[in-house]
């Protein structure tokens, strides 16, 4: 077997560089959104409202119990049809709804990772010393102020290493978006391989690109974990 890594890299690299841009864009926006979703869900779960809790637990279980890829398909193909269907049913208008593939990806990540992160954040909130709440209350802050000023900041800080791990997972999970036609790394590589038959080279280069993206991040997460444990 003859391998042509040089030729493959020269031809594939520019395309993959564009793909890296798309991957980073979706990951950054998706991850920030998932943090917001996670925080909102975590706070909702901490409320003493039974009905709200049941609804949120049900939602989180549905999301965690179905594959991310299925959720991407659902958002990309099914949700637009549902919106169009409801629009014609309720308002009698026919509209053509489309959600861009990359937007579907961001929404999917926000919801899916948001559900996982909500459990991380909720655990971290519960783990904050109850003395912090009492100190805040005793000074004269109300419950909401105490939550946002004295409970959530240390909880989020303590969760940073876990967030780092989820961020690395999200980068790798962007490869699923090839299935809904996002021009990310896998789709570009597959197209290239099928045109040039440089299959071994193309997919090996692809794997290396993912490693180059994820290894520094997971190292950074490890470093942060180490640093956060050390007294400052």
């Amino acid at each position: 077997m003859e391998l042509h890594f040089g030729r493959a890299f020269a031809a594939l690299a520019p395309s993959l560089l564009d793909g890296v841009g798309i991957v980073l864009y979706i990951t950054i926006v998706g991850f920030l959104s998932s943090l917001v979703v996670g925080l909102v869900l975590a706070i909702g779960r901490l409320s003493h409202n039974r009905i709200l809790n049941v609804i949120l637990i049900g939602f989180i279980e549905i999301i965690r119990g179905t594959p991310l890829l299925v959720q991407f398909f659902y958002i990309y193909y099914v949700v637009p049809m549902l919106i169009a269907g409801f629009a014609s049913m309720l308002f009698g208008v026919n509209i053509n709804v489309q959600i861009a593939a990359s937007t579907s990806g961001i929404i999917g990540f926000a919801i899916n990772y948001g559900c996982y992160l909500s459990e991380v954040i909720r655990g971290a909130i519960v783990a904050v010393d109850p003395g912090q709440r009492e100190a805040g209350l005793a000074l004269g802050f109300n419950e909401a102020q105490v939550l946002f000023r004295f409970i959530i900041p240390p909880a989020l800080r303590n969760s940073i290493p876990v967030f780092g791990n989820y961020l690395v997972m999200m980068i790798k999970d962007t490869s699923l978006l090839a299935m809904i036609s996002v021009q990310e790394l896998l789709l570009r590589t597959r197209t290239f391989a099928s045109q040039t038959f440089l299959t071994v080279e193309a997919y090996t280069i692809l794997a290396l690109v993912y490693l180059v993206l994820s290894i520094p991040l997971s190292q950074a997460a490890k470093y942060l974990e180490h640093r956060l444990q050390r007294p400052r």
Partner: protein
């Protein structure tokens, strides 16, 4: 009218009665020390005074107003009542000075400069001004507790509650904290102190209350309680602890 009147206060956790028919009056400038064996309800009583625990029955009047009925105004009442905890409960992500200035800036709306200036004054008062930029976890327990006292003082409270402020400290660090508390007492601060430090009670208290099994068993001047206790349970407790 007393500054603080605790009237027929009782507190239950489920079937467990922790406080039964507690009555205490505290005058402005008075130092009242509450002693008693662990589980006697003295900490719960203290926590009821700033509503960290909700009383089951009875009333707590602060300047004539029943604070158990405040509802949404509870936080503004708590601003007037400082609390010092057994385990300090400083904010770990804030520096010593930020711990002291945070609440006055946010709640009393003090400008940053004023809050810092006053914060440094309070830190000087407790002998911690040299650690203003340190983080709490770099301090000893005694230092943390003195910062916690400065943090409570910075809200200019009308009364200070101390919940076993020296119980979590190494013995050699207790003295510094007690010295600060004595200084406050001399300056006329109204204080309600739950403690096992009998020396402090004897020296500083205007009045000593002995609690056992949720009741106030005996109440009097330090001379009366330590010199000539009338109740058997008080005598037994003091014999054990002294």
């Amino acid at each position: 009218m007393s500054m603080l009147e605790i009237k027929n206060l009782s507190k239950s956790f489920g079937d467990l009665e922790v406080l039964r028919d507690i009555n205490i009056n505290i005058e402005r400038g008075e130092v009242v020390v509450v002693i008693g064996p662990s589980g006697s309800g003295k900490s719960t009583m203290l926590r009821c005074v700033n509503l960290l625990e909700r009383p089951t029955n009875g009333a707590i009047l602060f300047e004539g107003q029943d604070i158990t009925r405040l509802g949404r105004d509870t936080p503004s009442y708590r601003q007037k009542v400082g609390m010092v905890f057994q385990r300090f409960n400083l904010f770990p992500l804030k520096t010593v000075l930020e711990n002291v200035t945070y609440a006055p800036q946010r709640l009393l709306r003090l400008p940053r400069g004023t809050a810092h200036f006053q914060g440094m004054e309070y830190l000087r008062k407790v002998g911690m001004e040299s650690k203003a930029d340190a983080y709490p976890n770099t301090l000893s327990g005694g230092q943390q507790q003195r910062v916690a006292i400065a943090r409570a003082l910075a809200m200019r409270p009308e009364v200070l509650l101390f919940d076993e402020p020296t119980s979590a400290l190494d013995p050699e660090l207790v003295g510094d904290v007690l010295a600060v508390m004595k200084q406050l007492a001399r300056e006329g601060m109204t204080m309600l102190v739950v403690t096992h430090e009998m020396g402090f009670a004897r020296e500083v208290a205007h009045r000593v209350i002995f609690m056992d099994q949720g009741y106030i068993v005996e109440e009097g001047t330090p001379e009366e309680i330590f010199g000539n206790p009338r109740n058997d349970r008080t005598r037994a407790f003091l014999a054990r602890i002294l």
